[in-house]
């Protein structure tokens, strides 16, 4: 089972990981796993379980280009992030790291703390016996997920997803 972590609109990268906790500022990069939502939801980092889902309002991940924001979410095992609109840089960074993102607004369908079943491959959520089908992401994006991120993808294919090299 996956737990739902519900957030509002315009969650910015300073909320996900404040600049003070950048790997640049840390002795040990692995400590980054302690800091996702350190101020916005202080209980998040210590209680999130691998596979849990973040659902949020529009413009998730707005703000800075810090890849350590989605990286911190990946380190604690976030299973997918679902929001009606992602900020562009965050979207790229999360995709590059292989974190599944789905564009859908579930904030008034699911409760914070609710336990659901989730399958990232099919994009199906089962909540209290009710099935929610997420819109399927494009094939080029699934290609990147399958390889576990853009770096393994690029190492394998020597091209960018869905495109030939110039």
């Amino acid at each position: 089972m996956a737990r739902i972590w519900r957030f509002g609109a315009n969650v910015n990268t300073d909320q996900i990981v404040p600049g003070r906790y950048a790997p640049y500022m840390l002795k040990n990069e692995d400590d980054l796993r302690k800091y996702p939502f350190i101020e916005a939801r202080p209980e998040f980092a210590s209680t999130v379980r691998p596979g849990d889902l973040i659902i949020a309002g529009p413009n998730f991940g707005c703000g800075s280009s810090r890849e350590y924001a989605p990286l911190a979410l990946k380190m604690v095992g976030v299973g997918a992030i679902i929001a009606p609109l992602f900020a562009r840089i965050f979207y790229r960074n999360a995709l590059n790291l292989g974190i599944p993102l789905f564009e859908a607004d579930l904030t008034d369908q699911l409760e914070d703390g609710q336990e659901v079943e989730f399958n990232a491959e099919t994009g199906v959520i089962i909540a209290d016996g009710r099935t929610i089908q997420l819109p399927p992401p494009p094939e080029w994006m699934r290609e990147v997920w399958r390889e576990g991120g853009i770096v393994p993808f690029y190492r394998k294919y020597r091209r960018f997803p869905g495109a030939a090299s110039v």
Binding site: Y24, M25, E39, C62, S65, R66, N96, V151, V166
Partner: protein, 419 residues
């Protein structure tokens, strides 16, 4: 059919005509990385991608600006390793502690030029739109891929056109226009799109940087001001820069929407905690007392910004109990402020001057806020916790409002000070 400036630049970078909605692979003209993100880019480049060298040492710019000078042993070690890497890779364009904020430096040096595709390890890389470039921010992995290959992949964005009409009133300027647009279209109003700013030919390149950097606060992928008009010509002439013949505003270019702003009636705008698009007219704001006034950043820390503040501070003193921190965007801005007397005016008023760079903009050093403190900030983000304590309050406004606020101790219209 005409093309937007973003379509023209990305067509050039892709080597074929492209239009909004297409996914393309494009050649990168310049890649900027700064101290804060460089360690992770370098790690991905060498350890994960297995590349030994950057694709072109003349097309990479490295700037130490985010924690400059180093504040901790940790940041000092990272900067030491970065300097070693720069030597080993023989990077041509390296700007160390004190030269200033990456975006200001690349524009001043003439490295950022019209028609270029510029990637930066920083979301405010939209700044390069001030000189008619397509500048965009990317994360560490995208930057590392660009450094390894000289290429990137993008979806060609649609474009939101901003149409400013009329003339700014005294004490009102580019910052107020930028915040006004944030108020009109919201923090995601230009998500996945480029922003083109029209009707601002009179603005200097520094003032254009205010608009270009604020473009990301609208969600913009880029924020481009056409490289024309007196402000542009002065910048170009000083640096011998020419505009490529294929880059021009075209009749029939397709915009996803046009947002008009009437400058004749625009008042000073203020963004209240905790989001940039939470904007009102200054006249609608009640009395807000402040602890700190902070003038700086890539948005409003330029020579003209300090001079605008100095005009209001001249012969006056910072209010008791208020700290005025001024962090110039670059050493060049500081040099100019020294030469024209701005610096002396600021110091006489009681300002504290920091090392050119990002300063406390991201809450790491040089003016971090305590819980409960209220800051009037000329920067671009008032997110909770941005400048230090999450219990601090950050208000965004122009340098003129900042100066008036420093004198009176509460957020004030410049006219309250200079009449």
């Amino acid at each position: 059919m005409g093309q937007t400036l973003a379509e023209q630049i990305l067509s050039h970078a892709a080597g074929k005509p492209v239009s909004a909605g297409e996914r393309i692979v494009a050649r990168v003209d310049l890649a900027m990385m700064h101290d804060s993100i460089s360690p992770s880019i370098i790690k991905i480049l060498h350890q994960e991608l297995g590349a030994d060298q950057v694709w072109d040492r003349d097309r990479v710019a490295v700037v130490v600006d985010h924690v400059a000078p180093a504040a901790t042993i940790q940041t000092a070690e990272h900067q030491q390793a970065l300097r070693r890497w720069v030597r080993q890779q023989q990077i041509t364009h390296f700007f160390d502690v004190g030269r200033g904020i990456s975006h200001a430096v690349l524009v001043e040096e003439g490295l950022a030029r019209p028609g270029m595709l510029i990637l930066g390890s920083d979301s405010h890389s939209t700044a390069y739109g001030a000189v008619g470039a397509f500048g965009t921010g990317m994360g560490s992995t995208d930057m590392a891929l660009a450094l390894a290959t000289g290429q990137t992949w993008l979806r060609v964005p649609e474009t939101v056109r901003i149409l400013a009409r009329g003339r700014f009133r005294p004490g009102v300027g580019a910052k107020d226009l930028g915040l006004r647009v944030a108020r009109l279209i919201g923090a995601d109003g230009a998500a996945y799109q480029s922003v083109e700013w029209h009707g601002v030919e009179e603005l200097s390149v520094s003032e254009r940087m205010t608009l270009a950097t604020l473009s990301i606060e609208l969600g913009g992928e880029a924020g481009i001001i056409p490289p024309t008009g007196p402000g542009w010509e002065e910048h170009a002439a000083q640096r011998g820069i020419t505009v490529p013949p294929w880059l021009r505003v075209e009749e029939g270019a397709r915009y996803s929407r046009t947002v008009e702003v009437d400058l004749d009636t625009l008042e000073p705008q203020i963004s209240v905690p905790h989001s940039v698009d939470n904007v009102r007219d200054l006249s609608e704001l009640g009395r807000v007392e402040v602890d700190v006034v902070y003038i700086g950043t890539c948005t409003n820390g330029h020579a003209n910004d300090m001079a605008a503040a100095a005009r209001i501070l001249k012969g006056r003193k910072v209010a008791r109990g208020v700290r005025l921190l001024v962090v110039p965007a670059s050493s060049e801005a500081l040099r100019q402020a020294t030469a024209d007397g701005t610096l002396a005016t600021l110091l006489e008023a009681g300002a504290t001057i920091g090392t050119p760079g990002c300063g406390a903009c991201i809450g790491r050093h040089m003016g971090v806020l305590a819980p409960g403190e209220v800051c009037l900030f000329t920067g671009n983000r008032n997110f909770r916790g941005r400048m230090g304590s999450p219990e601090a309050q950050i208000y965004l406004a122009s340098p003129e409002v900042a100066a008036a606020t420093a004198v009176l101790g509460y957020i004030a219209h410049p006219a309250e000070v200079i009449g």
